[in-house]
């Protein structure tokens, strides 16, 4: 009986991937352990190897196909001794491929293709993943300013635990792209000292979960010294890395710490959603003379967006973006929740509710004006955040509405937040702990009195 080869899940956050390249042709025989295809995941390009021996009867998904969902049949394998006449339509066993090893060099060449051509005319817009956009932001700023350097765990030779610093070591060398020991408190503080000494460090935390080890240096040293020195000691540093819920990694590695940082004066806090904003805001953050906490999202790294090619385009810090305009209800979100809010808006449209979706982009300083203006028009507001409700960004928004938009509101604000529990491991519980599109739709209908 022929076996269907399925698109494998190669990382905790992978829901779909790109079938990058077939390494075997139809009719070719395959032995267990043979690499049969290269699949680009949200983190890297991986070679996958066969488990069974047989003949690759039919390729179902052509190479260079993007967005292939996990568990989609991608090929049919005719097992040894089987009749060659069996077609792929016949019922067959399903066999996912097995991960072999990472081939990150392939993914570099792949991502280079999507980068704008160097040294020639500017490309107006091109499609890029958030991961690539962040890398290009760093590379462009490093080209422009020798005092910019990147430091963190696995940023250089490994090219980033999430492949965000891919290619930087090759271009800039080990003086400016520096692998640190696992020592967050230490290298965060070292970065602060280097920034006091007029360098511009970009400090990568492998994830912001580990930045909690470095909290003292971020808050007490980086954020406060300008004030405590009467304006003498600026700290032009960027702390960046993925923040927020990942997938199936449980409570210590899956949490959204945005409001921890947003609470503290002296910091700027950015949490972009799209690749264009990720790039434009990271460039702005590196150029900013202040300490900036730049909160990325692991699940978004592999998502593609259109990005302007001009390296001079930066996105100003402190400006929200109306990603979808509407008149009936304002949905405020940031980072990964913007995507969910847009999905919700699309469902709401089917029910005749015209939602306006605001991507905060910068959490501190908050663009109050854009929110207030929107609510003045819609008179209703739902705030979506992945993090916990208590003292969260939604709470802050509720205070803002009370203080500045009270007379505009036709309904009480509703927060859609992560549940007030540590992140569970079980798939069903994890889903329940995080805000879903349906929760946003329900909240929006409630404030529109259509619940």
């Amino acid at each position: 009986m022929p076996v269907e080869i399925l698109m494998p899940a190669l990382s905790p956050t992978m829901t779909e991937g790109k079938l990058f390249k077939w390494l075997k042709e139809e009719g070719e025989s395959i032995e267990p352990g043979d690499a049969v295809a290269e699949i680009e995941t949200d983190k890297a390009t991986m070679e996958v190897e066969a488990v069974d021996s047989g003949i690759l009867q039919k390729i179902l998904v052509a190479e260079d196909t993007e967005g292939v969902p996990v568990n989609t049949p991608i090929a049919v394998l005719l097992l040894d001794g089987e009749d060659n006449g069996t077609s792929s339509e016949n019922q067959g066993d399903k066999a996912p491929l097995v991960v072999d090893r990472q081939t990150s060099d392939l993914s570099i060449s792949q991502s280079d293709e999507s980068s704008p051509p160097q040294g020639q005319g500017r490309v107006d817009v091109y499609t890029q993943t958030v991961r690539e956009a962040l890398r290009d932001a760093m590379a462009e700023e490093m080209r422009a300013d020798n005092s910019v350097f990147v430091m963190g765990e696995e940023v250089a030779e490994y090219e980033g635990a999430y492949k965000v610093t891919q290619g930087l070591l090759k271009e800039f060398g080990d003086k400016r792209v520096i692998d640190t020991p696992i020592t967050e408190h230490g290298f965060a503080g070292l970065g602060v000292g280097a920034a006091f000494g007029n360098l511009k460090p970009v400090i990568e935390f492998m994830t912001f979960n580990f930045a909690m080890q470095a909290m003292d240096q971020i808050i007490n040293s980086a954020a406060k010294t300008l004030y405590m020195s009467g304006g003498q000691m600026g700290c032009p540093i960027v702390f960046r890395g993925p923040n927020g819920a990942a997938s199936r990694v449980a409570a210590q590695h899956s949490q959204n710490l945005t409001s921890w940082f947003a609470h503290c004066p002296g910091l700027k806090v950015i949490a972009p959603w799209s690749a264009a904003d990720a790039k434009g805001l990271l460039k702005a953050a590196i150029r900013d003379p202040n300490p900036v906490v730049f909160l990325e999202n692991e699940v978004l790294y592999g998502q593609s967006f259109e990005v302007p090619g001009d390296p001079e385009i930066i996105v100003p810090i402190g400006k929200a973006n109306i990603v979808s305009s509407g008149t009936d209800v304002t949905i405020v979100a940031f980072s990964i929740m913007v995507g969910k809010a847009l999905e919700a808006a699309s469902q709401l449209a089917d029910d005749g509710i015209d939602a306006e979706v605001i991507d905060l982009r910068t959490i501190r300083p908050l663009d109050e004006e854009t929110i207030i203006k929107s609510v003045a028009k819609t008179n209703r507001i739902v705030v979506v955040e992945e993090g916990w409700p208590t003292c969260g960004i939604g709470s802050e928004m509720a205070a803002l509405m009370m203080e500045k938009s009270f007379d505009c509101l036709d309904a009480p604000l509703i927060r859609v937040c992560g549940e007030d529990v540590p992140m569970p491991y079980a798939a069903n519980l994890e889903m329940l702990a995080l805000p879903q599109v349906a929760d946003i739709v329900k909240a929006a209908k409630t404030v529109c009195y259509q619940g």
Partner: protein, 348 residues
């Protein structure tokens, strides 16, 4: 005086002896000038700190105030071992370091009183003062936080190929913090020109070193990282300077970090509010009488034939500087209420 005239009688006896003596006198003069400069710097710190203690008692200085009295030789000796390109960073017991870096005593005192003429416009206080001009990077209030910061300043020196080191001071209390070892590891790994000066004044707040620090000498705390460490008599400014020069030479020549453990003693409590009941009065008095760093230099100076009056003249000029600082610190106005909102972020 007697010693000097005796030597003069001997000089007349032969020409060769005269030449030798001239050389010796020359060395003597050089040493004398050097000692005089240390004396001046140390007396300035002591008088300044005594005055700060008084102003604290009068309620003119608030919050925490950690005095450096007794430890003057450490910072004065180390400062003599570096040039102006190098950077300095320390903890909250920082007044002495600022004065030794050449910061204006009036600006420091006005910061203590929370006035606009202070180095941080009154917004930092005793523990948080800085001077970019003098390459003094604070003044840090969290025990050991300055250690990674100093390591980062050294990283910057190396990044820019500067012939400079960072003097990173820490106390015997800070030496048990984890970030110190994170810093040692990176400094040794990347051979950063950082000199870690452990000012071992015997007590981390009220806890004696022997009750807080396991293992061998604090100078050996970098051994696992291959960082050389010396234990130095921190009450003897010449010993400090000698050790400092050795460490600076090591760091500037690209061999990486160096640790100097300075054995020293603070005469006052941990801060102004510390009654210091964890040690006896006798212990303190014995240190003051037998090991005082200023008396030590004073004796050496008198041995060079210097007249005591010269020292008295220096004392008087220092008292003048300190009273001017006190005057300024009391007359400089409090910061404008608008200052509450400035300097939170660099405007760009």
């Amino acid at each position: 005086m007697a010693r000097s005239s005796k030597s003069a009688t001997k000089q007349r006896s032969s020409k060769s002896k005269q030449v030798k003596s001239a050389v010796r006198n020359n060395i003597n003069d050089k040493l004398k000038d050097e000692l005089l400069s240390y004396y001046r710097d140390m007396v300035l710190i002591r008088r300044f700190e005594e005055k700060a203690g008084q102003l604290y008692g009068m309620g003119l200085i608030g919050g925490f105030c950690h005095l450096y009295i007794g430890q003057e030789a450490v910072v004065v000796g180390m400062q003599a071992a570096i040039d102006s390109k190098s950077s300095v960073v320390t903890s909250y017991r920082d007044h002495g370091h600022m004065l030794a870096c050449g910061m204006d005593p009036s600006g420091v005192m006005a910061e203590l009183t929370g006035r606009v003429g202070g180095y941080s416009k009154g917004k930092g206080g005793s523990m948080h003062m800085f001077s970019r001009e003098k390459n003094f990077f604070g003044g840090h209030g969290i025990v050991a936080a300055q250690v990674p910061i100093g390591t980062g300043l050294a990283f910057g020196h190396k990044y820019r190929d500067e012939e400079a080191v960072c003097l990173t001071y820490l106390g015997d209390g800070a030496i048990n913090q984890g970030q110190v070892y994170e810093s040692f590891n990176m400094a040794a790994l990347w051979q950063l020109p950082c000199i870690y000066i452990i000012e071992n004044n015997q007590y981390g707040m009220g806890t004696a070193v022997s009750r807080a620090a396991a293992g061998r000498e604090l100078a050996d705390r970098g051994a696992a990282y291959g960082i050389p460490g010396d234990k130095v008599d921190g009450m003897d400014v010449l010993e400090v300077k000698k050790a400092g020069e050795r460490a600076v030479e090591h760091a500037i020549s690209g061999k990486g970090p160096y640790i100097l453990e300075m054995t020293t003693y603070r005469y006052r409590g941990h801060s102004m509010s510390d009654p210091a009941k964890y040690r006896t009065k006798d212990e303190v008095n014995k240190m003051r009488q037998e090991r005082d760093p200023i008396d030590n230099v004073k004796e050496k100076l008198l041995l060079t034939g210097l007249e005591e009056k010269s020292l008295k003249d220096i004392d008087a000029s220092i008292r003048q500087i300190v009273s001017e600082a006190v005057e300024f610190a009391q007359t400089s106005p409090e910061p404008d209420p608008q200052e509450l909102y400035t300097d939170v972020l660099v405007n760009n």
